[in-house]
């Protein structure tokens, strides 16, 4: 077992009984088959085939566009949730942030920037940009509040984010008096959000770019590595000199900011900031993350899995409606999906342990 030959250039002395770095072909195939994203793509293809057979209209551009548009709002918070879950936490406040940031942003645009129905076209882009910044800022503030509760007051993430969820929901109702704040119906940019007229809207492109950048930071950069390390073994992370509290602050801030961006996305879709526009979305986000293969115990998860998980979620929802299943069944099917995903994960890790 001792080191044999220090001077052999690139790959020094791998012990003979160990498997060399390139895996054998059979091992590769079995790795691929047990690979989470392969399974997810398989499920996705299966869903598309089944729904298309049951309802030929399902296989069409408008359906795809509808699914993608729904996906856009949830994938943003699901990506933030992926970071949080990998770090070993949970963020229940993201749905409420969508409502609050949408309301505050709409209020700012209507009352401070004096945007009304007469503003359209290029005149709208300035106010919308400011509105986006406001929306992201609101989400960031809630995220920082979460971090404060978790790091300084030592409240477990579940309870900390549950309280900010309630507070954000309440605030958005107070600010809006419970009514959607509109005034933006004529914006050409909003027309561009309508999936019927524009399958790949600007907002969706922004979402895809943001998700891609987040994925790069999670999988290729130090930020992601520390997120995994903290979720995997906080003690080891601290021992390695990582400032755990600071990093978690950044993670919850990121989740909040992405929820704020999602708030703007939903605002653009509705043409109004509505206090209830994000209610329940946090559960969609958690579902997407779990279906995507992340572990609520921390340390495990991929952006690509979350992206596919969210896509599967909305494909199922949209498909069920199109084949004529009563909408109430949607929740049951989603619940089954989550249970199946978690069960598959548990079985997989048992096999991996052996």
């Amino acid at each position: 077992m001792t080191n044999s030959n220090q001077t052999t250039a690139r790959k020094p002395g791998i012990p003979a009984e160990q498997k060399p770095v390139p895996l054998a072909l059979t091992a590769r195939i079995s790795t691929l088959a047990s690979n989470q994203s392969t399974i997810l793509i398989g499920v996705m293809v299966l869903l598309i085939v089944v729904f298309s057979v049951l309802e030929p209209k399902f296989f069409s551009a408008p359906t795809a566009s509808n699914i993608l548009t729904d996906w856009g709002s949830v994938v943003l918070i699901a990506v933030g949730q992926t970071f949080v879950v990998i770090s070993g936490g949970i963020d229940l406040s993201v749905g409420a942030i969508i409502g609050l940031s949408g309301v505050v942003s709409a209020w700012t645009m209507a009352n401070v920037l004096k945007v009304d129905q007469t503003v359209s076209g290029a005149d709208a882009s300035g106010p919308l940009l400011i509105g986006t910044l406001v929306s992201v800022g609101v989400g960031l503030l809630v995220g920082l509040t979460n971090a404060f509760l978790i790091n300084k007051l030592r409240i477990v993430p579940f309870i900390a984010t549950l309280s900010t969820m309630g507070a954000a929901l309440g605030l958005s109702v107070i600010i809006s008096s419970g009514q959607p704040i509109g005034s933006a119906n004529n914006f050409s940019l909003i027309a561009a959000m309508d999936p019927k007229t524009n399958p790949l809207s600007w907002a969706l492109i922004v979402v895809i770019v943001v998700v891609t950048i987040a994925g790069l930071f999670l999988h290729k950069a130090r930020f992601g590595l520390y997120t995994y390390a903290i979720g995997s073994n906080t003690f080891a992370a601290r021992g390695a000199g990582i400032n755990v509290e600071r990093h978690l602050t950044l993670v919850y801030a990121l989740s909040g900011a992405l929820a704020g961006l999602a708030g703007m996305y939903v605002y653009l879709r509705l043409g109004a900031g509505s206090p209830s526009s994000g209610t329940g979305r946090e559960l969609d986000a958690i579902a997407a993350v779990v279906i995507g293969g992340a572990s609520l115990m921390g340390g495990i998860g991929r952006i690509w899995g979350t992206v596919l998980g969210a896509l599967i979620l909305f494909t199922v929802q949209s498909g069920l409606i199109m084949v004529g299943v009563a909408p109430d069944w949607k929740k049951v099917v989603v619940a089954i999906l989550i249970a199946a995903a978690v069960a598959a994960q548990t079985l997989q890790s048992k096999n991996g342990r052996k």
Binding site: M1, T2, N3, Q6, R10, K11, P12, G13, I14, P15, Q18, K19, P20, V21, L216, F217, K220, A221, R222, F223, L225, Y228, A229, G231, S232, N233, F235, A236, A237, R238, G239, A240, G241, I242, N243, G299, I300, G352, R353
Partner: protein, 257 residues
Amino acid sequence: MTGEVIYEVKNVSKRYGSVVALDGASLKLHAGEVLGLVGDNGAGKSTLVKVLSGAHQPNGGKIYLDGVERTWGSPREALEAGVETLYQDSGLAPHLTVSQNVFLGREKTVKGIFGKMGFLARKEMEHDAHEDLERVGIAVPASDRPVSQLSGGQRQAVAIGRAVAWARRVIILDEPTNHLGARQAGEVLQVVRAAKAKGLGVIFISHTLPHVLEVTDRVVVLRLGKIVMDAPTSEFDGDRLIGVLTGTIQTVRVEGD
């Protein structure tokens, strides 16, 4: 027998509420020396380790590294000053690969603007991690494998290899041979000798007294928060060490000052 004093604590105390965990402990560690730290459960070993590694701040007493008085605000500060600690059973993140663990907290980034944004030089670290571990006498499988796929012995070897590879002055090993088979424990002791040969000061904390007797140059015995004996390992055998540990043998003298 060994080099100059590199790490020293003088009269350190630590209280948790009304419990005195450490009561005026002093010890000196020389370069190229392996110092055994033993004591029964609750004797104050882990408290002393936490003070030495910067995880806890003592209520009283002084810490010197290379003759300069230091206070550690965090483990990171001790780490950056060259004091490396391997904690019992918790040195590694199981979901990360071998190389990610070896480089955790000291990652190499790619060149240019992407490096400034924290993008990692993965291939380079995988290559270097392998070399670093080999240099301290540890043969591990491919460094791109998650640590959770390694055996307990391999994990411990990686954890110690990591600490020895990075330590510049002092390395603190808390129960490094715990839960290991005889052969694996032997490898760990070999790594301890490699660290010693490298000129590091090694603090070796263990319940496994034969390992202490085998690898250390000097033994410090803690009982009820006090250092009750500090003597060359040659003055001990197993029975005597147990006697001092449990207090059935009254200590004759305390070396050091």
